[in-house]
Symmetry: D2
Subunit: 323 residues, 4 copies
């Protein structure tokens, strides 16, 4: 293998740049030519591909976003699109791919591999931490810390006014951000999609806090719950707690940006190197992850079909700590 | 004058604690007894009043929120409520008041002074910076920096995906936070309540950016504009820019909390001292402010009736810098 | 077991408060009485012990430092001191201890257990991450992020002036902070006490960077290396690189403070609960840790005698990424 | 005037990039050609000059450092050097200069103007805030906030261990950073070069704190004081307070980097525009500043010869607030 390419795809996550940097420098260290593909699969189809050098990734380890840009590609879902992509790669002699992204990215990569046989290693980059095959995904730790800093700020105003706050964090199918920012933020309750929490349970938790002389409360809500978004939940709860001064805050897109934390930069750096060395060692259709401190390669089919359960200990922890 | 009291009222703002600390220590320095009233006018009515010492305000200069808590009081709007408040104060021999808050707080303070003659000095504490009589209000600089850090994060993701973002910041009747965070955040356009911006102007600004090869754009929207909130504006703009990938983020209550900036801590400290010394020098019904580096006392009636215009230079600056 | 006590000892670390909170609430959840001992072993000897309630630990999850204060105790190193400490505990009916700290703390706890048999569970709290028996210690992640943010700032000025910076971070016997902040900060070289790095190797690394057209470089130095501190190393290197504009920055005590990161708050919360439940389950002379996501109890004698090696992969990673 | 150039020189300061951006876009707005000179006067001499476009300054408003790099130039202190610089400019038809920097930068600019008559407007960029002719300089607010965040962190550990900390901040001839970070950080004492503070006064201040039951204390020291640096002062104080646990922290170069605050970005943006418009309006040998909200042009000779006194009110404020 002499030429490989790297791209980012799907929702961006802090640390993607640190991963790109690691891929580029690891490739050069192993005397490979390394290409960057811009705008994910769209750029692959359109040939938006350029050769990268060591200095191409100078001074990006600390930056949010992705210098290769990201996109969701409809064209790549078609046979025709993938054929064009293959031609772009083969005309340049690119023999291996490193795809940084999440579920959707890897689904595309898997189909592409099955059709054209170009080896691909995926590196898990998504703030949601919802990928089987790695304890953590790139961007998750940063997103949790961003959510937590926001919760810290909101607690200041909640306490000043004796208010109840419903704070909505990201994670459509995954409660990871919610549970971690909820524990870290000292929330009275955390609502995650993995467990159903009824409105009655919310009311009881808030009532219990009130009975324990708490003057303010925080409920962290993952965006994808059964009872609706934070505004809807608050509206259902309000009539039952007429004395409570209830407010809602949706943290939104700030969770996707910002300088990555140390944890994310190191994870991204390790995964970038392991992705390159995976390709060199003959890995073909896998996602690279770190489980219990060890680098692990998981077949892409398995990575996208299995789900990673939320740690039940953490759910119990919220309950105990909100006493 | 031997005994005075301090309270916070209305929406909380970062730096209120630094101001309370300064009031307490300045009072003790001048050998006054100093009382804290909790929950604003409500606590005044209910006698939630306690004597403060130097150590009562240890280690709070850096904390958001207010240790005296804040509230909006309906009872104080009644003659009866104010009578009770007066009795609570006079039974304790409290001869002067320092009120930290905004417009509503000072309206109440003014009426109370006119009815009962207890001297009061107001210190401007509101993130909106909309008070006549001071260049800056306590909490504004922190709120702007919080908004700006959020915009910086959102820019990361906007650039990665070539998106247009409408970001809504606080300021119902005032564009101060919007204009400053917009300039600092490199926004293409800022919409403030002081100036009407039509949907057509928004479309043109975004189109101009597109023509200049900008791949992503940020529009900062103050919450109280004529064209509605950020979601409504985005919905009106979207049909005219069918190729744009438009997103909305409402920053919300994070702008009210957080550790105050250096600027706010120093402003709050200066105003706290000046409020105490104002009372000692015979000021009676005034707001203390800083204008062009000098301490200024403005009659409360004037402070609440006049408005502070937005600096037109800043509006021009946005336009020039977004070239 | 009905009454237990908690204390912090040795150098403070961000997240100790989150751990205290978790211990207190977990104890109450399990219907134990919980006491706080102030100033570590000194407070134990002098009886500076008070009963804690749920609200005693309100609003501290996010605060650096330790509300129980910490100290190093000479008296506890004497038989007499420990006898007094035992009497203070037994007179109050305290049947179990939770000690939050590092090596020195656990050495004392181990002797005390052997002499008096009061069960003790240690929770690893030190920014150095140098304890056997846990992948991570409370405070380490925060310290790394603090160091990293400092490195990010210094890189701004290093790049503006084409300078070489030697940045000294904490870790007298342990290179954990150095290696992680070095990788995260994109350092050209990291010097850790676990591996000896000669001055020649430093010169070569900087020369290699120069040859690769790098205009600025960062060397991260752990404080306890053979070649001396950062100032001494810089002085040895300077004569060999006469054209280089070399500067030194010692980050110092900022690394011990600050709001804990999400990672540290969650780790501290988990360890606090596991410490309480360890005592209840009959653990007697152990440190609680988390290894590969699982709670593990390690005999204190082993925890203090064995050392945790630095991950060699990370050392290799620095070399590859600085290409 | 059709072609102008901008450069940064001397010590870098956060916000210089925001100022460069504003200069470039303001020039383009006024239909000028705008050139960037790299490495200050060195680049001017060597012809390291390039034409800038609007996109040259995209996405830099939030970055520390300076994309134009900075340097101190010995060659420019010679007649020969300045002659070469003039030839480089005139051969490109550059008719006006904007110099972002401090004292040394403006001294050079003034000589150059006197010799060659090329109009120059200086924009004050230095963290020290020690320039006559502007209330604030670009970078000062950011440096103060960086120092303050460090002090906040150190206070956490000071309080946990009941320690006295001497914290050294930047400002060789100017106590601005010290006084503002000291007030904001709740310091017991601030030592600034403008006022002499004896070791006895330091001892008394710390003793007074001790008598008032303060368990920890912070003394902020500006680097250039008569009694030496923070280590030296601590060594002089220690023998007189044998029970105090004294530590020293020198904040160092972190104060020069980091993302600029809102205040600095807006100040830099305003000054950039005013510098360009100053040139267009015929200003010739001036520094642009903002005094009491108004743009002011001060002759460079005056700007570099007069000094801006430290606000005595702030020194009094420290004393009152540390009661």
């Amino acid at each position: 293998m002499k030429k490989i390419a790297v791209f980012t795809s799907g929702g961006d996550a802090p640390g993607m740049n640190a991963c790109i940097r690691s891929v580029v420098r690891s490739a050069l260290y192993h005397e490979l030519e390394i290409y960057g593909i811009k705008y994910g699969y769209n750029g692959m189809i359109e040939g938006d591909i350029y050769k990268m050098k060591s200095y191409s990734v100078s001074n990006i380890v600390q930056r949010g976003g992705t210098i290769l840009k990201s996109a969701r590609s409809k064209d790549f879902m078609t046979k025709e699109g993938r054929k064009k992509a293959y031609e772009q790669l083969s005309s340049r002699g690119i023999e291996g791919l490193i795809a940084i992204g999440g579920d959707g990215t890897f689904t595309g990569a898997n189909i592409f591999f099955e059709e054209y046989g170009i080896p691909v290693v995926g590196a898990p980059g998504t703030i949601d931490n919802d990928l089987f095959g790695s304890d953590y995904t790139i961007g998750f730790d940063t997103a949790v810390n961003t959510a937590l800093e926001a919760i810290d700020k909101i607690r200041d105003t909640a306490m000043s006014h004796d208010r109840v706050f419903f704070i909505e964090v990201m994670g459509r199918h995954s409660g990871y951000i919610a549970i971690q920012s909820g524990i870290g933020g000292g929330a009275e309750l955390v609502m995650v999609p993995e467990t159903s929490t009824t409105i009655n349970e919310v009311i009881n938790a808030l009532q219990k806090g009130k009975d324990a002389q708490k003057t303010s409360s925080i409920v962290v809500v993952a965006e994808g719950g059964e009872e609706g978004n934070a505004h809807e939940i608050a509206a259902k709860v309000a009539p039952h707690l007429p004395k409570a001064d209830i407010r809602v805050s949706t943290l939104g897109h700030i969770q996707r940006g910002g300088n990555p934390t140390a944890f994310d930069r190191i994870l991204a750096s390790r995964l970038g190197l392991a992705a390159v060395e995976g390709l060199l060692n003959g890995e073909k259709n896998v996602m690279v992850g770190i489980i219990d401190k060890e680098v692990v390669y998981t077949n892409l089919k398995i990575a996208i079909s299995k789900s990673k359960p939320l740690d039940q200990d953490l759910i119990r922890l919220v309950e105990i700590l909100s006493i």
